[in-house]
Point group: C2
Chain length 713, copies 2
Amino acid sequence: MLYSFLGMSADINPKPEQNNENKSEAPSNGVEKPQEKKLSPELTTSEPKKGKLSGDNYVRIRRPYRDIFKTIAPGRFVATAKSNVPQNALGRSYQNIKRFFVGRPLFSHEEPSQRLNKVRALAIFGSDAISSSAYATEASLVVLMAAGNGALHISFFTAIAIAALLSMVAFSYRQTVYAYPHGGGSYNVSRQNLGKLPGLIAAAALLIDYVMTVAVSIAAGTQAIISAGITSGYGNQITAISNSFPPFFNIGVVLSIFFIGLITLGNLRGVRESGTIFAIPTYLFIFGFVAMLGIGLFKSVTGTLHPVVTPAQLATAQPITLWLVLRAFSAGAVAMSGTEAISNGVPVFKKPESKNAATTLTIMATLLGVFFVGISYLSTHMGLVPGKETIISQVAVAVFGNTVFYYIFQIATMGILVIAANTAFADFPRLSSVLAKDKYLPHNFLHRGDRLAFSNGIIFLGSLSALILIIFKGNVDSLIHLYAVGVFLAFSMSDTGMVVHWWRTRGKNWKTSIVINGVDAVLTTSILIIVVITKFAVGAWIIVILIPIVVMIFQFVHWHYENVGKQLKVDPAHLPPMTINQFVLVPIEDINLASLRAIAFARTISKDVVLIHISNDQEETEKLQKKMDAYSPDMKLVVLESPLRVLVRPLTKYINALHSQHPDAFVTIVLPEFIAAHAWERFLHNRTAEQLVRVFKKHPNVAVVLVPYLLEK
Amino acid sequence: MLYSFLGMSADINPKPEQNNENKSEAPSNGVEKPQEKKLSPELTTSEPKKGKLSGDNYVRIRRPYRDIFKTIAPGRFVATAKSNVPQNALGRSYQNIKRFFVGRPLFSHEEPSQRLNKVRALAIFGSDAISSSAYATEASLVVLMAAGNGALHISFFTAIAIAALLSMVAFSYRQTVYAYPHGGGSYNVSRQNLGKLPGLIAAAALLIDYVMTVAVSIAAGTQAIISAGITSGYGNQITAISNSFPPFFNIGVVLSIFFIGLITLGNLRGVRESGTIFAIPTYLFIFGFVAMLGIGLFKSVTGTLHPVVTPAQLATAQPITLWLVLRAFSAGAVAMSGTEAISNGVPVFKKPESKNAATTLTIMATLLGVFFVGISYLSTHMGLVPGKETIISQVAVAVFGNTVFYYIFQIATMGILVIAANTAFADFPRLSSVLAKDKYLPHNFLHRGDRLAFSNGIIFLGSLSALILIIFKGNVDSLIHLYAVGVFLAFSMSDTGMVVHWWRTRGKNWKTSIVINGVDAVLTTSILIIVVITKFAVGAWIIVILIPIVVMIFQFVHWHYENVGKQLKVDPAHLPPMTINQFVLVPIEDINLASLRAIAFARTISKDVVLIHISNDQEETEKLQKKMDAYSPDMKLVVLESPLRVLVRPLTKYINALHSQHPDAFVTIVLPEFIAAHAWERFLHNRTAEQLVRVFKKHPNVAVVLVPYLLEK
């Protein structure tokens, strides 16, 4: 429908043929619309000329709006990048700063080009898993230390057991990747096969796990740097610097927060760039680790591999028991975190997605298994004992010597660990978005930001993990106890879900598949139980409490949205009234151009306008009445005398009284509002309008309309 | 005009005879109003019964509104005290706390009973002048000290000169009090007789002077307490406590701020109570001072008056020059501050106002003159030297001995000094209110608060003087240099104004009057010049700079209000349009009950409604279009595709584009707004509405209407 622009001067130009032509598109259902006073919502190219319409004002857009909106059909516009330019200079400066760090906004159609190839995908999704080889051995050794130096060799065997388990889990996840090409995270698999609650439990476990991944990886990464510092002889200085920080902060925490900030920024830039930035240290670490294992094995075979610093002699505090071995196993099991990352990210892979994802998964698991067993062997061989310097640093310095290669390797370790957190930054926001789509998390997590990344989830994860690092003072040993519960809970839920999936679908080779996932389900569930029991007292209890809390939050958010959705649902049999029944109240202090404008607005929108004057001066009221008789004789004036000289409260009470008498009436308060040229000029005007807005903010049947009046100069 | 309540169900009951009866009161000027759908702004006593109207719904008010509003005529209501009860519990608690300290709100009609009799008026308006006898002698002596002990006796002669001047000024002001029974402050007298600018200069001088009065009096009052502490032997402890405070604070400043808070509160309670509270120490001081002078004179005659601590022997740094004497005179002249107070407050006196005020003025001036000369005599007689202990304390301890009478007198001194500030608290807000009425200060200073006191002026003065005390670290000697310039400027302006007044009016005895005021004008102007010159370097320059700045602020505020007034003035020859030409835009995300309510609102207020949908999903847009066809087929939908996934900016750009095409059209944006039961639930909903409100806050042709939708539970 094309409405011609015709001002108040009533130059009428009905253009009947064009109106008819357009009526088909937005069918008029008999609601009468007078043609005069119609305003066109279309954007035309011509200057608005009263009483004279340009021929085809649909297709052309008037400059400069041609640059901002493209008209694709009548009433259909596409906003260009220029539409995103802020109105004021401050906003533009902020946008420029943001653009410098985060990059230009990306259009939705730019998305497909952001897919990942295997090399980049390994860096994105693999860094978490592979990097855990940097701290998992040490986690085992810390447990075994309690039984003296003689117990340390057990870590080699727990490493082999974990590597075996890893291959089973990886094999199992390969099946998931094929079965769920649109993203087969534990949440999806559990929800579809086991039901809503198991799905939410898996989701809670994963989200907590992602936060822990960031915290642990970053803390371990800074640990690698500090170890290099100790090796180069700056141990005392590091301690001194650390002590100079205020409580809750030490050099590790400060560095960690800096790295988290860096990763957050990188992720806000979007998916592919993350891959490019982060691929370098990942591959540096992989090649470095391979070199270290190769040289180390060669040296150990030739008998030339010796620790640089003689390992400490430990007191044998307790005997080697099954409990101790199980605890060492649980501690080492953190190596497996991140294995599920790829299954969540299948849709981001280049086509064929599932095949590429499965191949990447196999490569990742192989590297992790080899690295973990290898480092455990070398450390056991030398009888290394964890201390201020990390185990991996002790091995590296023994292999490379105090050479540049050692330092490169430490930096690469730091690099991959800091970047391992990136897996979580890829997954947490994606899972949050899925949960938001299913209405288990706020809408804010649903949408992609400027750079097609889920900005809110990224910022949320960054903040949360920084907070946890501060609370735990960046201590890897404390953090690691909270880890692994979520990992194995997710494995267990996913495998169980896959068993149900195969049973239900019974596709090709379903029997083989069900056996693989079934065995894996039993394994991972058993290990989950072991992990919970052995780590419960030292920190896992926090997670055991946290998961139900997070699930309850999901449920609450869901209940809220469902409840709102139900309340808002339109029932075609009981359509709400087409119009509302309203009082329009115009509180006036005096009759002037601003209040006349408000009155004109009120007169335009309703025939039931009541002017209300709060008075504490009889004379002024009389004057006002006279002015009204002269300028707005059609309006009814209600005078509310307020001998306590208050204004807002009697007015609210009056409106309440009106509501109580007319329960189904809506009250629209129309007020003039001065738009002052300078902020400080606002102090010179009464704040009545702002007060009324605040008072009626939560009133279900009152709207406050501020009719602006521009003060010049 | 009585509009019957008739809901959407269209039960019509026109009641023609009643309509006619009431039409006389708000004349209908031919604007047609259909009777159906009319809502009555009147408050009735009966339950709203659709289609059935109660007989006379004017005179009765429905419970509980009968308690809140009294109907005095159709459309005329008076709000009772109950109308001032806050809506929520928090507000009520705050009101109860305020009421405890400040008292119950007073109705405007309670004002006349707040007039002052002479005894109370002397306490209110006299405390400033009388109390200056507590520090004026010392101010002279501090100057004379530079010429050694031998110069100190000069203070007695300067005191006599000042007392003579005081009697002249008082005599002159008595004439003003009779000539200006409605308040003859320097501002009023100067403005009416000399012109706007002289009036504003006098007003600036007075306002600054009031602030200084508060600061100096309070600082001197705490000095009295500290002197008593020194006499009782706690000097070292006081110094120790003072040093323990953070920078900018010492025991004096902290005590001073406490006293300022107390006075502020007392004044917020309102005029009469201030009189009652403050009369006690004023009269205690007056009687104590009379006793001290009597006993002191007797002792000095009998030769038994000796200082308790032998006065310090001063080095004779400079000779006694005219310059030194003039400086001593200027310093002592601070005694005269507060003399003009009564002339401002004439309307607050009981009838006959002028006579009572003049009598009070005479009593006040007599007391001040006698006290000042007396204390100067006694101090000169003993050769006292100012030090850590005040002169008045030294005299008092010499007269009373270290007895309870000395301490009572010190407390009374502190009392009257702290209360002297009260004069300023009575005058500053009153003068501010007059200036606000004349549009030289913001409206906020115009109105009386809950307790019929000018609350804003009181709070402003309290804050400002506390700030000055902090800046000057509560040091009386530093503060006093800023004083007296304002005092004599006000005297000079007032007297000059009175000369012009007598010349113009030429009433009875005008020749005598003109001589009195003329002589006084010459005197006070001369002394003003002396004060400015002698005190310029030590602080008066601040006031000399400040007065023009304050005058410029007055002028600016005035210019702003005048400018706004001019802009808002209705020109009967060019009345603004009766209605406005508007687009109503309803941005919608989805069709649900909330958006249908917003659409219904929009449909009610305009025929030019455009729904606008910001889309980044083609499918959703199609779904929306279908829902619209079903539920709102009469509405036009504009779709704005936003491939950058931003919402608010393209919408603002679109509105700008519309404005550019239709420059005289107003745009009303109608949005649904969820009213959530709990604050935290708001996080679960998009903040688009709030963003739009913020963006269009300053737009002169856009109003944003948030149509509330109550979410249950």
